[in-house]
Symmetry: C2
Subunit: 301 residues, 2 copies
């Protein structure tokens, strides 16, 4: 069994070098590992070359001779094709697969089953903390899979995050991420509606936030995103489009479990309006724009 | 103009000695003021006698000869009758009125107008922080009214709370409290749905909370009420019935401003189900019981 803490023997492939994957891949390289990287859009991986990462233009080439494969791509269908078309046909036994994309729990289970057939082990290890967390290696990483695989991979995960928790069998990392997104979805609705109400009531919103942020309404969204909304800065920490993808996974998973989540359904419906307004590439707090747009017609003049 | 910081001259009446009002009234007495108290249910004020508060059985008697009148009662209709039937007919000019009940912004404006006619001044000063905040004098107090009245009353408010913010004209304290409740309503929906999802997915909910509490999903509700839900402890910090009252005020106020708040509407609908289940006297986190009840029929056995 490979010692992943030993940078002189453990070789790594990193697939997916977007806004999250790029800095995460860099952390591993900086720690001294041999790292090969692949990105569907090759230009995105380019900056890694000067850090000493070997950038290749083919998944098969990326995973040849490595011990651990990380993936951090976009949508569940990307994860599926990367694994079932790109990785599995070329996988050597004993490899550890770590998918850090947020995707369906059931897909994580499928990957785990297929990996086991090939005498490999896999982890689903989605993260929260956004691009800032990725750059500062302060991500929260929620991990599903075999406990032994988690223990083996831990030295590598510690290079990427701060709060790393083993959540249970394959899929449990993804389920935990869904729990995270379900809280965020409704919290964002509450924060944006509160700002809209306060604005319409003629309050000084900075003063209002001073009154409510420290108490029972206190939350990360109020502390970090409400001030950006007041500055009309809707730059993405986390993209609306990706959040909608995550909510849809949670909704489908809930349906599969015969579970009704009316608040999440409502948040999803509102976020679809954000997309309809053409704001899918803005940050999640752009929910405010959809709530405002719904009332533009009847605002007092 | 009375110096409210001078305990030897400033005389106080306190009306409403429930779970919030009782300890708040005590703080003023402890600071050395002459305090008279009235409660509709006289037995509730009884414990104040041994603290040196003069308990009386009539509002007119309570407010006779005092400089500042505090009210902390239950519902808007209570506030209305206390002021328009109890206080105003017997009010001497120069008195400061401070309503700390959560009530309609428009009612706060009516009280301010009537007070001005009688050459008095009023503040709407609702609080957040619950019974714990009331006992420890750590409430957040959101104040509307004339700035000069706020400045004059500040020495007294400082005995009751920690975060005391002047929010603007009459009604602005109540509007700020509505902003607070709007955030809390949807946040509670998100937290309960997240726990329900996690439970149904078979996660260890303590581990799940460890993963998500420190990040973008982080909130007071997750830190303080989720653990109580896991212990099935639904004792009230804040009553469902009172929260429903607050949400209804916000919904009606929003309607008046021609404002649609779909997340708040959904939360209100869910909380009405909590009441229908007979749980109005439990804490706000009993929302969990309504979400669970909706699925009891189709839970896997």
């Amino acid at each position: 069994m490979i010692d992943t803490a030993d940078t002189s023997v453990c070789r790594i492939a990193w697939i997916g070098t977007g806004v999250m994957g790029l800095p995460m891949c860099e952390h591993l390289k900086k720690a001294g590992y041999f790292v090969k990287a692949y990105s569907r859009t090759l230009a995105k991986a380019e900056p890694l070359k000067e850090k000493g990462v070997q950038v290749v233009d083919d998944i098969a080439e990326a995973i040849e001779g490595v011990d651990v494969i990380f993936t951090m791509v976009g949508y569940p269908e990307d994860v599926r094709s990367v694994y079932f078309e790109g990785i599995f046909p070329h996988l050597k036994s004993g490899t550890i697969l770590i998918d850090m994309t947020t995707t369906q729990p059931v897909l994580a289970e499928e990957i785990a089953t297929k990996a086991a057939e090939l005498e490999c082990a896999s982890l689903d290890a989605p993260v929260s903390g956004g691009d800032v967390g990725a750059r500062n290696a302060t991500l929260s990483i929620m991990v599903g899979g075999e406990r032994a695989t988690f223990d083996q991979a831990l030295p590598l995960l510690k290079l990427l995050g701060k709060q790393i928790v083993y959540q249970g069998a394959a899929g449990c990392g993804q389920h935990t991420k869904m729990c995270n997104q379900i809280v965020i979805a409704s919290t964002m609705v509450g924060v944006c509606e509160s700002l809209l109400y306060g604005s319409r009531a003629g309050l000084d919103l900075d003063l209002m936030l001073t009154s409510i942020s420290g108490g029972a309404a206190g939350c990360w969204t109020l502390d970090n995103l409400a001030p950006r909304i007041l500055k009309r800065n809707f730059d993405p920490g986390f993209f609306v489009d990706h959040f909608v993808k995550d909510m849809l996974i949670a909704i489908e998973e809930a349906k599969r479990m015969n579970l009704d989540l009316p608040g999440l359904d409502k948040a999803y419906e509102l976020y679809r309006k954000v997309q309809d307004l053409g704001h899918g590439a803005l940050g999640t707090h752009a929910l405010m724009l959809a709530l405002e747009a719904a009332h533009r017609g009847d605002q007092p003049t």
